[in-house]
Symmetry: C2
Subunit: 405 residues, 2 copies
């Protein structure tokens, strides 16, 4: 069975590598045929690559090749990936993708086009890299009403926070180390400001609740304001700070979804997810909490998820998978700041009298070398708007959500 | 769509409860129809049950009802569940099960009969209760060669060990507490001796590597020999003792599989799995380590896995899922004691001189109130046979495998 790969970067070249490394075992999984990469689309030249005869710079070489039934889109970005994918689906080819930006922006249109043309558009690699999450969420947990999802969805920020927590490194030094290790881009904005996690929250929320969520609907805060002081105070409360994507079911017409740093108490499965690893915790009404852990990025883990989707397409060549979600709407994602109650971590230049006047009894935290005029505490459960109202007149240094996962 | 439930114990009654609780959301997942429990088989009387009109003591009422297309077998035990399931499959009905004993003993025959009759035999609930593991293993990780699996597969023993580790409770007291909480049976043998974990290892190994493994092929050791002294020594090495089922790929004709207590170092995802929770860690050549965590037993979690399989059957009413494994063979599971090398924890009445004469440099452990003639240490990597050879002449109090997961 002939397939094509579009985009020969980290993931795309990994897809070719994984298919070749498993050429012995794949045929048994798709009814005896083998998978053959017959075309690779990339604008760059790879003169020394062993697959150099397969390269093309012309998308039409793939679109018009009737023998190619499945295409892996590992280009990233919305354009031209969107245009290419639409044309392929309309031409009756199935497409599998690792492109979270495209799925988060254009998911419903692509899924509908696949359905209309009797082909598959599979997206496992677009969330959580190699961690199986989409089939477990849509199939294995089908007998649950999902109450909420919380995920560590970005390896770069998790690495930085782990270095701050375990090594006492500053944010800047940890970011530099992440860049040296190849975990962070030269321009780390998409990771450290939470945009990457935001896209994955959109896809998870869309899958879990059946209506598309757009990145612009998800309030997103990164980790650049987290200091070592915050890390130390939270440690004294037996917790760690993680960048979490959180989704909460409200009713069949409303959800909340947001990305932010959050205090996770030790004992939670999310608290022990370290370095570049990712995890997604799903809370169902029947199953309780289940958690999926693994490498959230990286060449071979992500490529293995792409290839699993290729295998699934090949197995179901003549059948559409029942899978997908509908269009979103403007008022579907609520303003969580006025509706969702949770405790908050607060660090402020204040004295206990003024704090207890406003917040009543709170849990005070401590750190080594704490200065006399600085306090940190955990509030009772309240909305973020109520918190901000109470904090008027107090010199706030940082606030962080406290999660119940 | 009419279904039947055989066995109205904890899981069976949970299946009915989950179907009713999700009657609003299930139809959308199976093409519009609703699921209706039309028959419940149980030899006991339930005069006050709201479903009392559905009960029957005659299996033929289900077998001969042409409207019933899917049956949930939640009876447990090999007989008569095996006979009933075979008859149902031959009659063209799909069967879903939570019965790990039956699947571990008779899996290949049942799967083959399902295939021959164009129906499904789905078993998600037979491993790990509510934790999605079978689809992730067979579909999501299809592009990996699986190198090994390690699982905390029994909630009762994990609860007992957690109480020993965190509360300093003795084994006997922790067992008693587990019984009081309803986590352990009056006769706890199947749990504490590892038999329950053994059955789940058989199913996982069969799924992962395509050939059936029988319980008699899996060397199984329980947790009754673990003492608080062992727990303390291992704690000083930054580890915890867990009952692990381990499976290792050797080559396409050979695997190793065993159940035993094992030292897991903190930092492993398995080390933070506490109380009655379960987790399965899968090591793939492309994806690395992925881990699935959740409630391994309990009424609603297990029932939700059964109902997910019912939904899957209902969705694919006219199509056989590609899923299953072949017959096993006598020499398929190797004698791990002569082949698999690993470090061991040893507690002995000995002095350092005699230990280092035999083992060379070892890592010594410590505990409070350690007696003068007692030593505990971690050896270099070796086979269990080599270990036992070296230990001749030393007064051994306990040995425990050290895992690399």
């Amino acid at each position: 069975m002939k397939i094509a790969v579009m985009g020969y970067g980290t993931v795309g070249s990994g897809v070719v590598e994984v298919i070749e490394a498993h050429s012995d075992s794949i045929p048994a999984k798709i009814g005896g045929e083998s998978l053959e990469v017959s075309r690779i689309l990339d604008l760059r030249d790879f003169p020394d690559d062993p697959h150099k005869d397969l390269f093309t710079k012309d998308f039409n070489d793939i679109l018009n090749d009737d023998e190619i039934k499945i295409v892996a889109e590992t280009m990233g970005g919305v354009n031209p990936a969107f245009d290419f994918t639409m044309k392929l689906l309309k031409a009756g080819k199935s497409v599998v993708t690792s492109n979270k930006e495209l799925v988060a922006q254009k998911g419903p249109e692509l899924l509908k086009t696949a359905e209309d043309n009797g082909v598959n558009y599979l997206i496992e690699a677009s969330v959580g890299g190699g961690i199986p999450i989409i089939r477990p969420l849509t199939q294995c947990l089908a007998a649950n009403n999902i109450e909420g999802i919380a995920g560590i969805l970005n390896g770069t920020t998790n690495f930085i926070l782990t270095m701050m927590i375990e090594q006492g490194m500053s944010f800047d030094d940890a970011l530099k180390l992440a860049q040296e290790n190849g975990y962070a881009e030269k321009d780390p904005t998409a990771d450290v400001e939470g945009h990457d996690a935001c896209r994955k929250v959109c896809i998870l929320a869309s899958l879990a609740f059946g209506k598309h969520v757009y990145p612009s609907q998800v309030e997103t805060q990164g980790i650049t304001d987290i200091t070592l002081e915050d890390v130390e105070y939270v440690n004294s409360a037996n917790g760690v700070i993680k960048l979490l994507g959180q989704i909460k079911y409200i009713n069949k017409d409303k959800i909340a979804a947001f990305v932010s740093p959050a205090v996770v108490y030790n004992g939670s499965q999310l608290s022990s997810v370290k370095d570049v690893f990712n995890a997604v915790l799903v809370r169902g009404d029947a199953v309780g909490d289940v958690c999926f852990y693994g490498a959230g990025a990286g060449k071979l883990p992500t490529a293995s998820a792409v290839v699993a989707d290729i295998i699934d397409c090949a197995k179901h060549a003549n059948r559409k998978k029942i899978f997908g979600w509908g269009e979103g709407s403007e008022d579907y994602v609520v303003d969580y700041k006025s509706t969702i109650e949770m405790p908050f971590y607060v660090r402020a230049k204040a004295d206990k009298d003024s704090v207890s006047k406003v917040f009543g009894d709170v849990k005070y935290l401590s750190r080594a070398n704490q200065s006399d005029d600085e306090l940190a505490f955990i509030t009772a459960s309240m909305t973020e708007n109520d918190l901000n109202e109470k904090l008027k007149g107090i010199e706030v240094m940082n606030t962080i959500k406290v999660t119940n996962y």
